[in-house]
Symmetry: none
Subunit: 299 residues, 5 copies
């Protein structure tokens, strides 16, 4: 596969891509290196992983990071209760049947292992896409643990032994720049920075993703979003919000953007009350810029 | 159903609503997205969930969050002792088929599964309303777990397998802004901010909710509440308190607000002794503003 | 029953009350809302619950909270060992019907259920008074659990099923302001703040509660207590101590308060050695203020 | 019995007492309230309990508290193994009546009940003295449990039923102020603070307790102890140590206090090496103050 | 026996003693009080117990404490397995008398009792020396349990009854000051602090313990050790190290202390690299002080 094929693949999955993205994905696959994606929230970082999985027709395994995440949560845990019950059960049967089963089922076998994402990814029957989301929310300790796994692709379970990956997963790491990632992790990965889309791209995405939306509405939505992002917001809305909004408005059967409706549907794009305030204060200005007409006038 | 129908529905359930609210509810149902509601305490955030459940004639399942809440509390737990006893019993009775797997199936059956709200919501026979209350009191780990459930609507119970939601629940998430919610959760939801009601709205609510209250009393109560909220209180009273008070006063068969009674019933609206103090100090002033007449005078 | 009747009832139980208290109790009964009582220690908060129980001629069920209290301690526990033994016994005796379910029913019968206060309260044959004492010593998790019980008045015991309260208990919650209670709990309750009694009230209480005490002694005791509370003590003595002291002095057959005896009986009212010191240092001053006469002089 | 009789009783048991102590003991017996005794270590707090038991010619039951002490350790435990074996035995012998309940009764009989101090105290044939030692070393949960026992004097053993105390034990609670005791416990008790004895009292005690000691030696010992307590020691020696020392010196047949011997027997009164150091450094000074003569000179 | 005899006894057993030690031992025997010995590691605390046992021609019973040690480990345990099997056997053999109680008696007989040190000590045929080693490594619960045993010298075995000590053992308790021992335990015991030996004592010990060492070598070693301890070391070497070193040098067949060898064998006495450094820097000075000759010169 070459770059343009990758681009086509992504495109075919409905992902409106840019050369940089497809190149990154291509190289990441080619060089078998994790891809570290950074960018503002809501810009579709995780989307890439999903699309990749779909494109490669494989599974997506996701490891969501959070403060306090530790190795055992990411790898595996034993299902002790089940082990015990199993013991008891075997015992009960043994008692009854009056004989020891020849096959002593290994109590520390796969069956009693609760696999967590990393182990899942390693033991997956075919190379999956492993999405390590918001890695910067975990702490340095976890990060360095991750690093080891990413370099060796093997995991040691004391009770079982070392499990070697059969297929090296395709890894996507995303970060929000909450804290600085370590040099080491950065070095291990290829890097991709995704920014908010520009007007044209956003328009394309909206049109591609939301079938029911009219050209005019789509344009207004995108123009509005572009303006909105200029405001100093706590939580700048991303593409995800644009799509939601477009869907919502389409669901409401609008083919343009009336003032009232914007106000009533702000909750779809702004997720913070301060932002809501800010936006409401600037709405009239935004309208003007956009030439939005009030519904009444428009009717 | 369209927006105005939603508005009617809510109204019919006695919920005095605004366009923004009904729009949010409508979109949330339409887009199948959780609705995140924020606002000061006592403003009726959870009420919306209840009303919705009633309106949609379905069940309300509530997950109250608190610090330290973890997945097992939210999902399910095995009734471990019971399983053990069951085993014992089986053993004691000697009623065993030859197969371990049968016994295993039995022992990991529904009977021994203690469902917690999330699992309940997923396995509910019809789409319930799932209220996740005060989500910001839970910690990040739980939030991140929740996120997964909310996106996939499926839950894996190792001993049973993956349980897919038959009907996607209608989700309402409420928060008090105790801590910042994660970006991801916000993005997953639609957003609604509810503030204290203004005088008219509160009056309407009181009249709607407390049948026994006279117009005059209702007005005095609401005016008093509005004033009270101006004071610097630890715990500003919300609508819930207004309704309680109205009910209490109605129960006492008053049709206006005598001074003495206010003092004696402050405990219904103020839940903190400092506030009680503060209020008592300002009472006469409040009276004046409100033109409350002492009972005696009034008689 | 109306407010004044409540007041009479309390009075009749020897509880010297104030309008605010009886109003709170009345509303709590009327609105079927728990009553949250706060105030300094030893002021008779729990007394209210007791008096109420007596007044309503019902039982008092008390749930004492402490750090680490969890649901199983508050609700019920299975007597696991006993169940096991029972099974063993059954097995030993060979008295088994063919049915597991029968045995199961037996084994999960009342006999093996250890009811804890909350379950007791719910399954009580008539609406009891449920006293949840020092709720602020329990942790948040428990508080949140409590909240659910208090709103639904039903409890699910997996092995038995859901138990619905036949009679909603009358709930009194007390707190010492050790930590902040959650908003939610406060909102659920009516609020009552009880302070140290003033001289008159205390005198009335003493006279009411301790029959053997002379008017003069009672007066001296109460005056002394009032003075004592002005000192900066670690553990300010409450009414309970006043009553104890009165009882003690009555037991010693005094009809006034001699200096020597105060000193020797300080341990009845002061429970901390620093306080004892403080008090002893200020004693002569206190005497003067009170006009206590030395026994000798007095004789 | 009145106060002075109590004093005589204690005296007769060799306990050198003060009015405050006998008053406290008297009131505690009179008011049937536990007596909480605090004071520095080694001051004879537990002695009071012992003396009381002897004085009242009853048994002393002691509950030594420590961190992690829980209810089952303090109340009772079933001797499960023994129960099992009994079952087995019965089974083996085939001596089973047809009734489970009979067997059950047998198996949950006194024989298999291991009584712990609290249950012992309650079921004692005559009101014992219950000494709850160093209660502040136990944790809050236990304290709260204790509180209940102390107020109701009844204990519920699920398998047997509720056991009501036949005679209310006389309770002595001691504390070292390791942590703050709860308000509630303090309120439940009468309070007594015992300090180190002064010279006269100590002398009296020594002479009373150690018959073999000469007047001169006793005086020197007590004077030495008084001085020693002025030093900044880690573990200030109490009366117990004084008595030990007196006994030791008497055993060595000394009738005065030679320098050399003090040094060699310091280990009897000082239990910490730092203290030993401190004391040795100050010895000569102490000698001087005391006018101790070296053995040689003295001979 | 009097003090000097004790001293002789200890001496005769190869324990080089000081007046304080023999006095402590004497008093401990005299007053029948346990002797608590503290001191730096490697100073020969447990040695005293051994010597005492030899001196009194009785057995030494040792209870080594460790974290998690509990009463059953220290007292006794029933050999459940054997009991069961015995039952089985009896059953199989059909040799059952009609009486359960007989069997019970049999089954709870000495034969099935596994005695642990404390019980051993109590039931010993003549007063043994009971060494409770490193008591501060056990946890508080055990310490509190120990306290009881040490005061009553009786142990209750539910199945057998109360066992009273026939001869009070001579108790030696040692501690390393790992944690603070409880007041109570300290008070129960006599106290002895043993410090590093001075030159003569050390020399005597070395000569006594290491047969192969020449007088000259022993002297040099001890002088060197004394000097070494003057340095500011992280880990001051104790007697144990001296003995090790002497043994090592004897093993190398040296009869004096050549420079080179000191340097090469420093690792035997110094266990910290900083110390090694320090020592090496000061070696020449030490040599000078000691008059160590270089091997070459010395030959």
């Amino acid at each position: 596969m070459n770059v343009s094929q990758i681009a086509d693949l992504l495109q075919s999955q409905g992902y409106i891509t840019e050369p940089a993205v497809s190149m990154a994905v291509y190289l990441s696959m080619q060089l078998k290196k994790p891809l570290l994606i950074e960018g503002p929230a809501g810009v579709g970082k995780t989307e890439i992983a999903k699309v990749m999985a779909r494109a490669m027709d494989t599974d997506l395994i996701r490891l969501q990071c959070y403060e306090g995440l530790d190795a055992s949560h990411a790898l595996y845990e034993w299902n002790y209760q089940r082990q015990l019950l199993h013991l008891k059960m075997v015992e009960a049967q043994g008692t009854l049947s009056g004989q020891t089963s020849d096959l002593e089922e290994e109590i520390f076998g796969e069956k009693f292992l609760m696999k967590r994402p990393l182990l899942q990814a390693i033991t997956h029957h075919r190379a999956p896409v492993l999405l390590i989301d918001e890695v910067d929310r975990a702490d340095e300790e976890f990060e360095s643990f991750l690093l080891e796994v990413l370099s060796d692709w093997q995991i040691t379970v004391p009770e079982i032994g070392t499990i070697q990956a059969t297929h090296i997963p395709q890894v996507i790491v995303t970060g929000n720049r909450v804290r600085e990632l370590s040099e080491a992790l950065r070095r291990r990965c290829l890097y991709l920075w995704i920014d908010y889309p520009d007007y044209e791209k956003e328009l394309a995405i909206v049109r591609g993703k939301v079938p029911g939306v009219s050209q005019k509405l789509a344009e207004q939505i995108c123009r509005f979003m572009q303006e909105l992002r200029q405001l100093r917001l706590e939580k700048t809305p991303g593409i995800a919000e644009t799509l939601d909004w477009a869907t919502a408005l389409a669901a409401l059967h609008f083919d343009h953007l009336p003032k009232e409706i914007i106000e009533q549907t702000l909750g779809v794009i702004l997720k913070d009350w301060k932002d809501t305030r800010t936006a409401q204060l600037s709405l009239s200005e935004l309208y003007e810029k956009m030439g939005v007409v009030s519904k009444l006038e428009g009717v």
